[in-house]
């Protein structure tokens, strides 16, 4: 056990130098919520730290032109959660659905899809990059995740991760560096139309600097936490619970 802690401390100290150069960044900006053992864990930290240092100015991912868009946009994995609650909301056009925002925010609240659509929108034509190797370009319209959190009065100083739960039983944690990015949006539109069910209606997250499995579909709720410990298997998300990279920038 002591070996494990010392290794983790060693790994964590690697990016600290870089962290000093950036204001507003914490350990969570450079190191996954739970560092795996061995060389794989060391590589995880190197990959994430390198990415975050290279992206320290919060550069935008490449935005393409309309002619590059794939329409219809390909669907993959879950395209229609069988969950009864989801089916009811879908049959009602999500008019009675509410997005709860809870946890370490100034005041917990719920937003309807109509209220979300009234918030300042952002449209971005970006590549969806699947970790399997495929990629397709779509025009996503939605509201910045940061703006939605601001509707709940913003996060408290103890906040470290934003956790998104979905109707198909997935969840993922995102550190505040990713949340603060301009292109991190909750999308309700795709290619100029309402987000189709197969692509994640009513809302899907876009984190354009990470792979597809972090772009959760069928968003059900948002909560802000100080640690990913105790959520799922505690690795920070369902994908890393199953042994995939938590930081999916590669």
């Amino acid at each position: 056990m002591s070996n494990r802690i010392s290794r983790r401390t060693l790994l964590a100290s690697l990016p600290t130098l870089g962290g000093l150069l950036l204001t507003g960044c914490t350990r969570e900006t450079f190191v996954p919520p739970r560092v795996r053992g061995g060389l794989i864990g060391a590589a995880d930290v190197l990959t994430m730290s390198t990415n975050r240092l290279l992206l320290s100015r919060q550069q935008l991912a490449r935005e393409y032109s309309r002619s590059d868009v794939a329409d219809p946009f390909p669907t993959w994995n879950q395209t229609n959660p069988r969950n009864a609650e989801y089916q009811r909301h879908a049959s009602e056009g999500f008019t009675n659905w509410r997005l709860p925002i809870s946890g370490l925010v100034a005041r917990s609240r719920e937003l309807s899809l109509a209220e979300i659509r009234r918030l300042p929108a952002r449209t971005q034509i970006t590549a969806h990059v699947c970790e399997q190797g495929w990629s397709a370009i779509g025009e996503w319209t939605g509201v910045p995740l940061q703006r939605v959190l601001d509707e709940a009065g913003g996060v408290t100083p103890a906040a470290r991760y934003v956790v998104i739960d979905t109707f198909d039983g997935w969840y993922e944690g995102y550190d505040l560096f990713e949340v603060a990015h301009d292109q991190t949006i909750l999308a309700y539109g795709l290619n100029g139309r309402d987000l189709p069910r197969g692509n994640g209606a009513p809302l899907r997250l876009r984190v354009e600097r990470q792979c597809g499995y972090k772009q959760l579909k069928f968003v059900k709720s948002i909560r802000v936490v100080d640690s990913m410990a105790g959520i799922g298997r505690g690795t920070g998300g369902i994908n890393s619970d199953f042994g995939f990279h938590w930081f999916a920038g590669v």
Binding site: A43, L55, A61, A127, S135, E208, F244, H245, G249
Partner: protein, 247 residues
């Protein structure tokens, strides 16, 4: 071990056992770490590819989009390939091996620039790049016979021929950087930081296709490399990469 402790192969004194010279510690250690990381990179890369066994050109590529290469056309269906390919294992080991490969490679290049290994032993001399010399090497190479002596007549356990030197330099300074760049050109994180990677290779899918072609090219290179070693006397060459020699 310091840079000024000469390996046997580099000493010209009469005491040197020129019949069984060895590479420097650095070259030997880096070679074997490199080999292990490359085996992992290749094997994990094959797994990643099998999990999505099609290649495309440009920025876009997904199942149903016009493909430049389909494994299914070559007899292995999508489902069969997917059943073999384990991308979770593949991705974890590919990126871990990539870091080992990169750090090892930087140590190798840094050390050999410092110790002048490249300048002294890997950059072909002007006298080596003569038509007669290259023609002679090509002739020997086609006949699977290595020239067992260098231009100064020393035995060649750990010394390189002109074409060999040139191909190693191209491998280290052209091929490897291109493989790293086509690799990270597929990454949404790295391409956000360096969008020119997308323009350099004509798109994310082009980069993936070039990365795969590069892998096949490397496998062919390794086959030729091993055959050439065999032609030069397999045991002598491999011993020069392992043993401290008959000191």
């Amino acid at each position: 071990m310091g840079v000024d402790s000469p390996s046997i192969s580099e000493s010209r004194g009469p005491a040197a056992d020129v019949s069984n010279p060895v590479h420097s510690y650095n070259v030997r250690i880096c070679h074997w770490i490199n080999l292990i990381s490359c085996v992992y990179l290749l094997w994990s890369g094959v797994h990643i590819f099998l999990d999505f066994p099609e290649l495309y050109w440009g920025h876009t590529g997904y199942r149903g989009y016009p493909a430049a290469f389909r494994l299914a056309d070559w007899g292995l269906s999508w489902e069969d390939a997917g059943a073999i390919g384990d991308r979770r294992w593949g991705r974890n080991y590919h990126f871990t091996a990539a870091w080992v490969f990169l750090i090892n490679g930087l140590v190798y290049v840094g050390w050999n620039l410092y110790s002048k290994h490249f300048r002294n032993r890997m950059v072909p001399g002007r006298d080596e790049w003569t038509v007669a010399n290259v023609r002679a090497e090509l002739r020997d190479s086609v006949r699977w016979r290595s020239r067992r002596h260098t231009h100064d007549g020393a035995a060649a356990g750990a010394s390189y021929g002109t074409l060999q030197k040139t191909s190693y330099l191209i491998l280290i300074f052209v091929y490897v950087p291109l493989m790293i760049l086509t690799g990270i050109a597929q990454s949404p994180g790295f391409t956000a930081a360096m969008p020119m990677l997308l323009d350099l290779f004509g798109g994310r899918q082009s980069a993936r296709t070039l990365h795969t072609i590069g892998t096949v090219a490397l496998v062919l290179f390794v086959v030729i490399h091993v055959l050439e070693i065999a032609a030069a006397g397999f045991l002598v060459k491999v011993r020069s990469m392992i043993a401290p020699g008959s000191e």
